[in-house]
Amino acid sequence: MSRVELLGADDAPLVARRYYDEGDPGPIVAALAQVPEMLDSTLAFIGAVLGPSSIDGRTKELVILRTSAVSLCRYCVDSHSVVALDTGVVHDEVAALRNVEAAWTATFADPREAALLGWVDAVAGGRGPVSDESSARFKAEFADHEVVELTLLIAATLMLNRFCTALDLPTATAVLDRLRRERLA
């Protein structure tokens, strides 16, 4: 049960209605619709950062899912487990990213992805300055523009993580069904 009313199509404010044209827009939009002037700018930002860009979809989903797991966002972990699977991240990888109690190093041996996930854990899981060691490993594998974009992706995901967690947004039934079928629930 969400902590705020999630506006349905009949209650959608004028400037929010186009987001309902193709059916249920999901709880993030249905919550944001409470403040309709925030919708366009917020969704444009989220779309630009989390959506297709010069960085491939698998890499971005690794970041989003791991960040969400580290910040213990149930809604984002569930939703992006499905997105990750659909993007080609395999079951064992998704399971490893979701599990913050065990190391992912055995699953992600590729040095580039290992450096990336190390950076995610340092940025999303830490407080205060990020260590030079994490930065050095990450920067050894990624160009500066990638460092900037992927760090922005972690930060934007953290914003969504706290938003979805604080408002206790409900996971879609279809997502839960898929996770059960995938033995990830």
Binding site: D11, A12, P13, L14, V15, A33, P36, E37
Partner: protein
Amino acid sequence: MTVAVAAAVADGVLPGRVWIYSNYHCNLACSYCLTDSAPGVAKRALTADRMVRVAEQAAELGFDAIGVTGGEPFLAPGMAGTLARIADILPTIALTNGTLFSGARLAALDALAGRDIALQISLDAADPDVNDEARGAENFAQVIDAIPKLVERGIRVRLATTVGDVAPHDAARLCALHRELGVADEDHVVRPIVHRGRAAERAIGVHATRDDLPAELTVTADGAYWSPFGPTVRDGRVDTDLLISRTTDPLAVPAELLLRAVEGRPPGTDTTLNIR
């Protein structure tokens, strides 16, 4: 973009009046009330300074008139003085049930004399029983008593008749009555009950969509709306379907969003139901 708002008002693309919901509580509980107003409901009140600020910003943006409505605005302390301040900024109409004008409240209305303001009072029938069935016991008598007092003070009075249906002979009696009370024909407005708020709960009134309603920017404590028929209340919840923005200061935020929503709407679509 704010220049675009002024141009849109000047060109008639946006209506010139900005409405302000001063408060939602009321001493009456009319059967068709859009806002489910009554004694004891949440006040959702704007302060006097906030209302004046809306009027100032409306003038800066190029709007050319203000409407104040509620609830019953005159339940708010100092409302006559607030209206005088607003009327000094833009021509103003204030909607009232006209039942509170005695004693100090009546004397305070002297502040409105000579200013560009009209008080629009509701009276739904020439027959007291018919009127009072919808608006409450003694309402007809109170309104009939109040109007001449306002006219005598040099305050322009408009009369609003909100009806499901009005027979020609009833309309003729009502018009004879308002003329007798000193209210001119051009100051008598007849409009339909709109199927929102308490009217919707009672399954009465005409169904109005966004395109049936003039896009009059409306400011409330809960945000800005497409029309004064937007921030209606049902089961204690303010409707959101005609919400424009929660931000109302600066007023340019909802004004620009409203203009964006209006652009492209076929002209004349808001006049078919005579909702005003």
